[in-house]
Symmetry: C2
Amino acid sequence: MGAAGPSHGYLPRMTQQVKRVVIIGGGFGGLYAARRLSRGPVQVTLVDRQNYHLFQPLLYQVATAGLSPGDIATPIRSLLAKQSNVEVRMAEVAGIELAAKKVKLSDGEVLDYDFLILATGVSHTYFGHDEWERFAPGLKTLDDALEMRRRVLTAFEEAEKEDDEKARERFLTFVVVGAGPTGVELAGAIAELSRFTVARDYRRFDPKKSRVLLIEAGPRVLAAFDEKLSDKALASLRRLGVEVRLNTKVTNIDPHGVSLDGERITAATVLWGAGVQASPLSRTLGVELDRSGRVKVTHDLTIPGHPSAYVVGDLASFTQKDGSLVPGLAPAAIQQGEHAADNILAAALGNPTEPFEYLDKGIMATVGRASGIAQSGPLRLSGFLGWCAWLFIHILYLIGFRNRVIVMFQWAWAWFTFGRSARLITGTSTSARREPEKLELTAEAARR
Amino acid sequence: MGAAGPSHGYLPRMTQQVKRVVIIGGGFGGLYAARRLSRGPVQVTLVDRQNYHLFQPLLYQVATAGLSPGDIATPIRSLLAKQSNVEVRMAEVAGIELAAKKVKLSDGEVLDYDFLILATGVSHTYFGHDEWERFAPGLKTLDDALEMRRRVLTAFEEAEKEDDEKARERFLTFVVVGAGPTGVELAGAIAELSRFTVARDYRRFDPKKSRVLLIEAGPRVLAAFDEKLSDKALASLRRLGVEVRLNTKVTNIDPHGVSLDGERITAATVLWGAGVQASPLSRTLGVELDRSGRVKVTHDLTIPGHPSAYVVGDLASFTQKDGSLVPGLAPAAIQQGEHAADNILAAALGNPTEPFEYLDKGIMATVGRASGIAQSGPLRLSGFLGWCAWLFIHILYLIGFRNRVIVMFQWAWAWFTFGRSARLITGTSTSARREPEKLELTAEAARR
């Protein structure tokens, strides 16, 4: 009946040439792109250096012992197992040749592509002070979160060992740098941890007397929100006992603490919640980047001059009609990933691509237990209502039904009992556990 | 009314001298001893190098990605938070002076005691071949389990990268040494993982074709059980596709595989489930030990000649009236911990101690999904019934209500979906994730 004729170009056909799509990065952008490509005449290879997709908005919960790594991470292979046109590769990318349409992996293999989706995201930056990283780890990966958890929990253990009051105070001082969502959520969660969760656990000191400082160079916390909501978040933080320092710059971080303009804070634990920098891969492309190293993309999400190379998610610098940039949020990454996939399917069939338009669904952040802020269009929520909105959206988006149920249970449990379920200090190496000197070194390293 | 008189010696009094008890080790023996001491006129310090109590019987589930670390571990401080006479110290013990009644910690602090409970357990031994440890990790700690999980999951990822059929077979061969409970449970769980859980996840090979070998020097698996039950377990293992080699000794382990008497197995992943050796602390005591380094204790669980020093759990070598040793099982450790606590309370009040008698509640093991064996008194269970008994007992004993519910849910979920929830490869260091060469080294190390 002529069903195999070339006029039915919309439907994939075995006779049609199958295009090869390489997606780099299995975060929100890459994963949703891969899913969207399931219905097209394409063969997809998704490359990630980890074997799991991470629900990054909840990473601070792992860092503060509220959730286990397994609760917010799902193997990419399981998420895509049913999609027969997708292959997943756990590998590091060594380089990309845009002109030759090749991706080189660090194990030597080369992947040829017809279309590329680059979605490697961003990490934190120390504004030229990379030497601070040792003393003030940032939060982008699961291993980062476990390192933070180790430091925070170890600080309490060290305080319990310490006889000297002064030295103990150092262990009970926690400094968080940067009052964006990550910094605010970390500071709020640590304040709660010390005031409620471990309040009865120690004998030599009162964990409630721990100091939690939040240092912000700008004039307010959560600057992406309306000023009124910012103020409410600030009030919530202060109610939790967090000492917030606004308009305050960090001038130095060393093993003993933090120097601010004109003030010195002695602290064993410093956490970094500031600065965003594009994944280093962007610098190897030889294309135009913005100040943070993100790739400037055209209206259809491709790299200028490379119509088959898309960039989506946090790594993309996309200027909207009103001149503002699309923010680095999970919903934006999802929209861009799906849009890039649609454009690739269109291009593969010889159709024109569509310009991307960001649908702003709003932003939200949480400040400790039962307080949050949310804004969406004309809607403004704060306090308990803001927190409920935050909770609802985050559980709704948490990938995988199982994770949703477990996380809901863990939260409900933690909420009613003030307990945190994942309060484990893990990660000293096998040999260290056998040799006391090495354990000491590890603990020393954790302190610094 | 004379209530403060010395004749009421049974009741703790402020006027009575409070005895100091030091417990070393927060496993089953140490933890249950600490709990039992809550009602006595004693001040307890529990020392452990980890901050959590580990439900060791389920450790193999973490090693095979069925459970998350947080599911089987609970902070010791939370477990003892309500007990005001207990102080918990996260520290390494550097040495014990039995005569002077002192415990020296590696941070230099010295704890004086009136009574000591030593409960540091056992680890695995390589029978004089410590160089095998790098290639065949054992399973005693949470970090051991995470290392095993990393190796097993990485092997599948490496297989997916490999083009060469021969090289791929090496990654898809898993060898478990030792067919005691740990080895049998590991082999069964890996067989399931490959045949069900990840069966659809890879594109270049069929995970069902993975080989799982279980090597045992003795004539049967699970030798502690009746011969009939052993045979049933063997049949279950073979049904799962595990190649069991009985009466077979391992003569060498190197980065490329395992040498048996007269056979060479090329394998990327070798796991060690054999050999038990006392914690090295026992060797520093200068007291009589058995062949495995366990401390020989008298009828009341004290060290001969040191009536104030108790040894409980796996570290104790206790000969029963019939000449047999008390086995190294959680129920035995719990009974001994509580008995030592009772004896200390008696001695503190000037009363005589009681001899320990082990109440054998039976033994059980599981062989993969829905098959297990259990024997208790005249009762013998196998197959699905044996597994139900195993499940019931393990969930019942899992410390903490929250963990019980979560684990039950995870298991139910895994059982119905064949999914394993904790399939994450974690633990490469921060720097390694930034530098491809180092990642390669890490992956290489994981392969070996």
